[in-house]
């Protein structure tokens, strides 16, 4: 058994390496397009209201998951809100959008904007975990130049 093991060891094990790179044109659809347009043109955050349970969802989407009815009414929500959960990401990984290492650290926060009933994911300016806790109040900081991109049009959220 042991000699066989050694024989195996002496045999070089190979692999095939490759970068898989597939471009995607992700389609925002009607609802998220309205959201991105409002962000770009007016620096406002848009939600959508369920006609049945009256819950306001950010980002807007076609259906209320609880009522399974189509949402129709777009409503602006506040740029201030409460951090419901967060983490400070320090684990290194590849940014799949670029194939390059992801810039670290960053704070991923789930923020319930005033006037909405769901949480939106974005980053906080603050990356020191000692200075952040769930329940904190935060406000969106918008970019001067906006392109209709959720990730950059809102620069980050700052602690109020």
């Amino acid at each position: 058994m042991s000699s066989q093991k050694q024989e195996e060891k002496s045999e070089e094990l190979l692999s095939i390496s490759s970068i898989v790179d597939v471009p995607y044109n992700y389609n925002a659809g009607y609802y998220v397009s309205q959201y991105l347009r409002e962000l770009k043109e007016n620096g406002r955050i848009l939600g959508v209201k369920c006609p049945k349970c009256q819950k306001v969802y950010v980002p807007p989407r076609v259906v209320c998951s609880q009522c399974f009815v189509q949402t129709k009414e777009f409503v602006p929500v506040s740029d201030t809100g409460t951090v419901k959960a967060f983490c400070v990401v320090t684990v290194p990984y590849t940014n799949p959008n670029t194939g390059e290492p992801k810039k670290l650290p960053f704070t991923c926060a789930y923020i319930k904007l005033d006037g909405s009933d769901s949480n939106i994911m974005h980053c906080l300016e603050e990356v020191d975990e000692k200075k952040i806790r769930a329940g904190m109040r935060v406000q969106a900081v918008f970019n001067e130049i906006r392109t209709g991109d959720h990730f950059t049009d809102i620069k980050h959220f700052k602690i109020i």
Binding site: V22, Y24, N25, G29, V62
Partner: protein
């Protein structure tokens, strides 16, 4: 086996670059299928979605349509494969005795990614991918082998394309209704010999939904149920070179299972129409043979005979088939939805008169490695 029926179907219009997002398409068909069945979301006690992480550019792609497919409140699962396999999953859940009514939703947006890159990833990264294989050139290898072995001509393949695009003119959901001739097909741009542009299916966005229900639950609804009589699925082996690409054993095996279950001994006589997965024109001819509609190698002559045209004795792809709209994953489910419309007598201008038994077929992987087919009856 307790009888299970299809009680509702819905499709989007198939198009390239649809302005709708994945979830918007899924919601559209889920809602319409409920309306079609005359039931409400509360009647749905489980769902099955069919999505694919490569086509959608998203790991856990089923997440995209969890809410939109009505999956947020009931047990759901995601079959990553053709929509026919999704219906099979739904059928098994009902037959297990734990569910009454299943909503199956399949969606795909081919225009989001680059089909050649996405289908390249079907091939073995260790031995095949480096050759630049994709859906088109692998199909060309299969077409060449099949045509050589059985003396099938490019004209016969072209005739499939002419027929199906013409049929598509009667289908409001189809993407490519076309008036073309055999000459047009033969003269269209050569992509990978012997496959030309008009031998191929388009890049499509679209969704399809189907609602299944056990017999005891169908009494509640007014719409005429269409019964699942038989189902079979089967796979060939994987490496292209290990397969005899001109062979249709996997389809034959799947068909035998479905026919046995449905009690069909002479498919040619007993089946009124077939909706098959013609991703390329030659495929329809091969699948005819695998489905037992003609002998091995007889697909070309069958096409020439005109029997598979509208008005023939066994119309194949009255909808225009996959050649006329190819929303991957939803495409097989669309075959089922079309078969249901035919059996209900609601297929409009594409109606096959007196349709009683219909066949719907889906494929999986490269060159039809896997097959799944349903025999449906009114």
């Amino acid at each position: 086996m307790e009888r299970v029926a299809i009680i509702g179907v819905a499709q989007t219009k198939y198009q390239r670059n649809s302005p709708s997002s994945h979830d918007e398409m899924a919601f559209e068909v889920a809602q319409k299928a409920l309306e079609d069945a005359g039931v409400s979301i509360e009647d749905i006690d489980n769902t099955v979605t069919c999505t694919n992480d490569f086509w959608d550019g998203r790991t856990i792609s089923c997440m995209t349509i969890t809410d939109a497919s009505g999956s947020s409140k009931v047990p759901t699962t995601n079959v990553e494969g053709d929509g026919t396999l999704g219906v099979l999953m739904g059928l098994m859940r009902i037959l297990s005795g734990h569910f009454e009514t299943t909503l199956v939703v399949a969606q795909s947006k081919g225009s989001v990614g680059i089909p050649g890159l996405i289908t390249n990833a079907i091939f073995d990264p260790l031995y095949e991918r480096i050759l630049g294989l994709d859906a088109i050139n692998s199909a060309a290898l299969q077409a060449r082998m099949y045509m050589f072995k059985y003396g099938i001509t490019e004209e016969q393949c072209a005739r499939v394309s002419v027929k199906n695009h013409k049929n598509a003119k009667n289908n409001p959901y189809a993407q490519l209704p076309l008036d073309i001739t055999v000459k047009d097909v033969l003269k269209s741009r050569m992509l990978a010999d012997p496959i030309k542009l008009l031998d191929t299916s388009p890049v499509s966005d679209g969704a399809c939904a189907v609602i299944l229900s056990r017999e005891s639950a169908t009494r509640k609804i007014s719409r005429r149920p269409i019964w699942i009589k038989g189902v079979g699925h089967c796979s060939d082996t994987y490496h292209l070179g290990d397969r005899d690409l001109s062979d249709v054993s996997a389809l034959k095996s799947a068909a035998k299972r479905a026919y046995d279950m449905a009690g069909i001994s002479n498919p040619w006589k007993e089946i009124s129409l077939a909706e098959v997965y013609d991703a390329f024109s030659y495929m329809e001819l091969m699948w005819m043979e695998g489905l037992g509609f003609c002998d091995r190698g007889g697909g070309g002559a069958l096409m020439d005979s005109g029997f598979t045209e509208m008005g023939g004795s066994l119309p194949v792809n009255p909808s225009g088939g996959v050649l006329s709209a190819h929303p991957v994953l939803a495409a097989g489910l669309a075959r089922i939805a079309e078969a249901v419309l035919q059996l209900r007598g609601e297929a409009g201008a594409r109606q096959v008169a007196g349709a009683k038994v219909a066949l719907a077929h889906g494929i999986e992987g490269a060159c039809g490695q896997g097959h799944c087919l349903f025999v449906l009856g009114s």
